[in-house]
Amino acid sequence: MIEILDLEYIYPESDSDFALRGLSFQLHSGESVALMGSNGSGKTTLARCLNGLLLPASGSVVVDKMSTADEDQLHEIRRHVGMVFQNPDMQIVTTTVEREVAFGLENLGLDHAEMVQRVDEALARFHLSSYRQIPPHRLSGGERQRLALASVWVMQPSYYVMDEPTSLLDPKTREEIRNFIRVETKANRGMLLITQFPEEALWCERLLVLHDGKLVFDNPPETVFQNQDVLKEMGLDVPIHTELQAYVRRLGFEDRI
């Protein structure tokens, strides 16, 4: 379990005040949780607190009983919490697709055969096998996004924190991410999915809504999306089908559709 308790964060070198103002929630193993919020609401900052890239000003983030405040545990915490950044170029560091996927594994002390096998599996899983020797910069945006995900998946983290991982994917591949979330949660991994697409929040069991550094909702997505006016006020949309359905209901024709 990742347990976030009264988490506060203040941007360094900024005159503005809190980025996160006292958040508490839990992400359990085997659970999928979506996180929505307008630009500047603190989503990415929150994500970066979950594996100790950022440390809270007060409150705590505890991953499987390890606090991110404990420097000796950070290495282990980062093995437990796999981060997929919004822009894949922020995390790609090597010169070929194959090396990129092997990069994290190299520090785990695996024997060669196992490493090769795991890299092969990851490349196949994310349809990258034919690009092994290609430099990542030669891939398309969507392919680089799959590469970033493959490099995290290969490490078998206990939790995934994914910051808009579908943003550059074509609609078909986006559906595969939905399936990925289902498979990984079934394998008892925890998922935090940051998204701008309300339709993607429906893939998850819970939806957290962040506004101005505070947690406004922590409910099943269907429940949250009944509050269309409140969400619009915060600059967020409900799924298009939800909005159209609500409109039909308001017209009094629900029985017709």
Partner: protein, 284 residues
Amino acid sequence: MKIEFKEVSFEYRSSLLPTHQALEQISFQIGPGEIVAIVGPSGSGKTTLLQHLNGLLSPTSGQILIDDQDLHTQPKLIQQIRRRIGVAFQFPEIQLFEETVFEDVAFGPKNLGEDEAKVEQSVRSALKLVRLNYNQYEDRSPFHLSGGEQRRVALAGILAMNPDVLVLDEPTVGLDRASSDCVMQVIQTFRASGKTVIFVSHNMDLVATLADRILVLENGKITFDGSRPDLFSNNKILVRAALTHPQVVSWMQSLAEKGLPVRTDVYSIPDAKAEMDRVLRSDL
């Protein structure tokens, strides 16, 4: 401005890697006042195509004509064209680098040799287009803005050059509704003044809302060039090119399947509501 591709092919070549044919025999013409969306699976050549539009890449064979002049036979033309075709690649905000928003947006106009007063005027009108208040933002550091504000500053930097054509690669990725709406408005305003917009997106709702015309790229080839209704009623191409229906369309289709006589070539939420009003109320 008229842009014409004549049988443009492009190969990525390198001594270490197998040659990759990224574009094959691409031909099209885009005139002023058009909004053209380019869609297709990841890796189909969309970004490579955009990189040809301002001479960042040159074709292995074929011609690119800008107002009937061949872009690659006259080196000087490429310099001119880069002023007139503004390009924002994916996540353009990572290229913000100046200390203040003003300096960042002013970078292009200053390079064009505009005098101080003219530069300020260009910056003011560009920031206005992306709906950032000049007085509130001019002195702020671009690095302390939200992702949505940064994207808008990056776009303002391009608009400040007053280009004739705007080329955008996934312009709304990562943006919330307010910033997305702002980008959509920029695109529509731009076209309304008789200029051209070419954008790449995987977001079919965005494509359906904005595009006058859609090009589908598959494996480096154009496999469709036509209107929204023609594309979104063509299931064969949608499936083959890893595309989906816009959500408004899939909603209307589900009503049609239930026997309601609604049109399915409806692309925006207000239009969908109006169409449901019309049909549900009329056969009371």
